[in-house]
Structure formats: structure tokens, C-alpha cells
Point group: C2
Chain length 147, copies 2
Amino acid sequence: MLLIRKMWLDMKSVIRTARKIINAQLEPLGLTGTEGDLLFLLVTGSDNLQQEQLAEQLDIGKAVVSRAVDSLEAKGFVNRIRQVSDRRAYAISLTSKALSNSQNIKDIYDNLYNLARTGIDDDNFIFIESLLSHISKNLQHSEDVNA
Amino acid sequence: MLLIRKMWLDMKSVIRTARKIINAQLEPLGLTGTEGDLLFLLVTGSDNLQQEQLAEQLDIGKAVVSRAVDSLEAKGFVNRIRQVSDRRAYAISLTSKALSNSQNIKDIYDNLYNLARTGIDDDNFIFIESLLSHISKNLQHSEDVNA
DNA sequence: AATTTATAGTTGACTAGTCAACTATAAGTG
DNA sequence: CACTTATAGTTGACTAGTCAACTATAAATT
């Protein structure tokens, strides 16, 4: 099989399997994968981000963020706080319920990350990331040109 | 930002952007991405595979293959041929319509592959694939254990 | 041969995500 | 200041994919 085809499959597999592992561990908290991603971002030092920023940092569309925040709000993990400086935007702030689960959430993601890089030393990990970033830019650039 | 978080985003971005590029080029042929993936597999030397094998080689569920083959059949690109040796299974065979488009389809995927690896030499490409495969196995193994 | 177990494919219900159209507010320009 | 353009968020329609239940056939076990 073509090497690149295998690379594609491996990337798909990594993302799919990671999603499954995360989902299974978030389930007892009553959270979906996207909701967990969002909370993880907020609990690791970036509380009070706007939805637009969440979308950008998670690399998903703002429609997904809008619905995930709806759901997190309904479940009592976050509040939308209308910004005075820009009345179109909300700051998404963590509730005490979210804070009391924050270590749990961090552990779930940290464990996944540790699992993923088991047996790969730091230099190689940095290297792989730089190559993936390179590939990503290659494709993105062509998208921009043809758009 | 955590390096691994960036790696995740890059992988997601590569897959998403590749999908968009492929979709845009398949559109004039009246094909979706999954249908294109399937035809590409069949035209690059593996005609008459069974659906189960297509699912495995594309790393997608057999439900997706079932529906994509339905659609490809309706569009006249493939035929299902009931196997005498195993009357549960079909061989998926390319029609002349598919064959007359095969170079076009190959070019679409080859161009994407060339674009992706622009500026990355062969050794590094082999290396990145081995690391991705390693990561994929790390995750998969934990899935197996916890299932 | 009859019974159980496994496999190929189909279908329906579901999840995650995209895209485009929309509302409301903000910022830039004549 | 009025007008245009840009931005934050929402919503509905759509796509790609998963999972589990099902049918039909095959293979293994008794």
C-alpha cells in the first residue's frame, strides 16, 4: 500500500480512537467529547474566553461551540456572561461545578496525551509535530489559493 | 499551547482540509468524498474487492461502505456481483464508466498526495509515518484492553 | 444431519461536524 | 452623523461517520 495512504489511515485512526477513549471517560461526568474539549480548554488556564476564541482554539466551527455551550450551560458547567465592552460577545465562565471537576477533566486529557506519546522521545515528538504542521500548511495554502 | 494539543489540531486540520480539496475536485464527477475514496481504491489495482475488504482498507465502518456502494451503483460506477463461493458477499466491480474516469480519479488523489508532501524529503516522510503508526498503536492497545 | 456460532451485508437511530443565512452589535468611512 | 462593512453568536439543513439490531448464508461442533 502507498505510504501516504497508510499515513492517512493512521491519522484518522488516532483521532477516532482518541475520541473514543475520551468519550468513555467523560461519560460518567455526563459530558460529550466536544463538551469535554471545551471544558479542558477553560480549566487549563483560559477561563472567560469568548465563543469565537473557543472555536478557533479547538479548530471547530462556531456553530458547534454555540450548541456545546448551550448544553454545558444547561448541565450547569458554565455561564454565559454578556460582555460590556462588546455586547455581541459572551465570556464563557466556569461554574463551581466545573471547577470541582477540573482535576478530573485534566487527568482524562493528560492520560490520553501520555498514552499517545508512550515510547516516543521528546525530540521525535517535536519533530513529528513540525512535519504535521508543515503538511497542514501545504494543504491549507492550496485551499486559500483555490478559494 | 501544549505541543500535543497542537499536534491534534494539525491532524484534524490535515484530514479536514484534504477532504475539502478532494470533495471540490470530485464534485464535477458527481461523487462524494467517500465514493471517491472507494473508487480510488478499486481503480488502483484492487478491483472486485468485497465490501468488507473495502471497509477495512478505508478504515471506515461497513455501514458506510454499504450506502456508498448503493450510491455508486445508482450512479453507474460499480456493480455488485454476488459471489458463488460465498453467497453472502459481493464483489464490487468497476463499470466502463468508472474505468473511463479512472485516470481522472487517480490524478485527484495523486495531486493531493504530492501537495501534502511538498518540501518533505522521503526519509522524513517514512519517519513521520512510523511515528504516527506508533501513536495509533499506543491508543488502539488501550482501547483493546478496556473493551 | 441438527445446532450453534461466525460472517457479509443492510438498515435505522444517533453524533459530530460543516455551511449558509440570519440577528444584533460594532467599527470604519463619506 | 448616516451608511457600509465586519464580527459574535444562533439556527436549520446537510454530510460523514458510528453503533446496534437484523437477515441470510457459511462454518464448526455435537
